[in-house]
Symmetry: C2
Subunit: 220 residues, 2 copies
Amino acid sequence: MPARPTDGTPYAAAHAEGKRALRTLALDTASTLLEQHGPAALTMRRIAAEMGCSTTVLYTIFGSKSGIAETLWREGFARLRTALEEARGPDPLARLAAMGHAYRRNALANRAYYSIMFQRPIPGFQPSEQARAESLEPLRVLADAVADCLDAGVFERGEPDYIARVLWAASHGAVSLELADYEGAADAEQRFDDLIGAAAAWFMPERPARPDVPAPRPRP
Amino acid sequence: MPARPTDGTPYAAAHAEGKRALRTLALDTASTLLEQHGPAALTMRRIAAEMGCSTTVLYTIFGSKSGIAETLWREGFARLRTALEEARGPDPLARLAAMGHAYRRNALANRAYYSIMFQRPIPGFQPSEQARAESLEPLRVLADAVADCLDAGVFERGEPDYIARVLWAASHGAVSLELADYEGAADAEQRFDDLIGAAAAWFMPERPARPDVPAPRPRP
DNA sequence: GCACTATAGTAACGTTGTTTTCATACGACG
DNA sequence: CGTCGTATGAAAACAACGTTACTATAGTGC
């Protein structure tokens, strides 16, 4: 016989809401810590201290640190999905281009989340199968936009899923190097646009006009 | 007055060689540990135990764990550079394509190193400025091959450095997602080829013939 | 009132990177 | 040859981490 309040009573609702509030507070704290001090600052003790409770609470809510990491991981993909969904454009191709910019903008605005999603800054954390499945939703959003382009004849051939994965890899590659600041991100935006444009053009019946590239190189 | 043997004596040479041997042994041990058991197994105590000494030795040689990580980081980029340098082809474009495959092959064959290079599995490790500069060498190798393509007229316009960075981002994006096994790596190789091909084609005067893509999608 | 369960705080355990302590070995120098 | 000083390495200690008992308490159902 459980000590949990009987379901349906007003008290049970309040009780459940308290738990939700606790969970939300924990996630907010973890999220703030992550964004302001990076993944290294994301320790159980620190989250608990910031909340003003002991670490036990975190373990009853999330089970382990991986539980928190997974929630943040999913939050990162949820933000990405929302960012992609909000992309608009007068025609399918413009909408796809808007998605590209949304991808980059979201990554730059949520660097810490992006690192949790695609790097492995939290030792021992591996997303569950369910979380992995969920993380494919942004890709599905992208694939829908690609399908629209195929229907409109903007793209010539190929499976929407496959094309979306190619575009995804292009976005990720460009953004990933930009975030790593691997080689001075001076022309990072142009590189992003070029790579995405190149990948998209690859699937079009005719290659579209390319934006200006740095001055032509003199040939000897 | 130091207890270090006077420079120039045979003993000094032997002494220095002993230090080199020790350093090499430590790196070999760390490297093996990294490749066989992943970054998580790369602990100071374990490296020391595997070598048969105490952790103090590692600290006198490398200063800190980051010192070891940095050496492995550089080793990873050195392998990548070698892999790219060894790429051959009958003409500039073929050589560039060979470099693309070399990039992917090297990454797949050295997953642990690739993760050290582009993920952050070792908390607190950040490559030094010098190491970062050194890590740009593979990019320079790529840029040289791009320059050859420009000279040969295979590429139409653009700075070799810039084009190389775009190709680099494409390679990294495709390989990175493949290694993360982000969405089933069934057609990972084709995706890699397509993305690299698309990026390269972007800078050519005429779009080259594209290899076959999955069956055309029926339009409603 | 009583038993039982869920929860939270305290303190511990084992492991990590790192530092300290201490002993020892060995070149330099009187 | 003996002493000094420095470099080096082993052992242990330290701080911080994730995690797990242990304990107390509060609240539900009988």
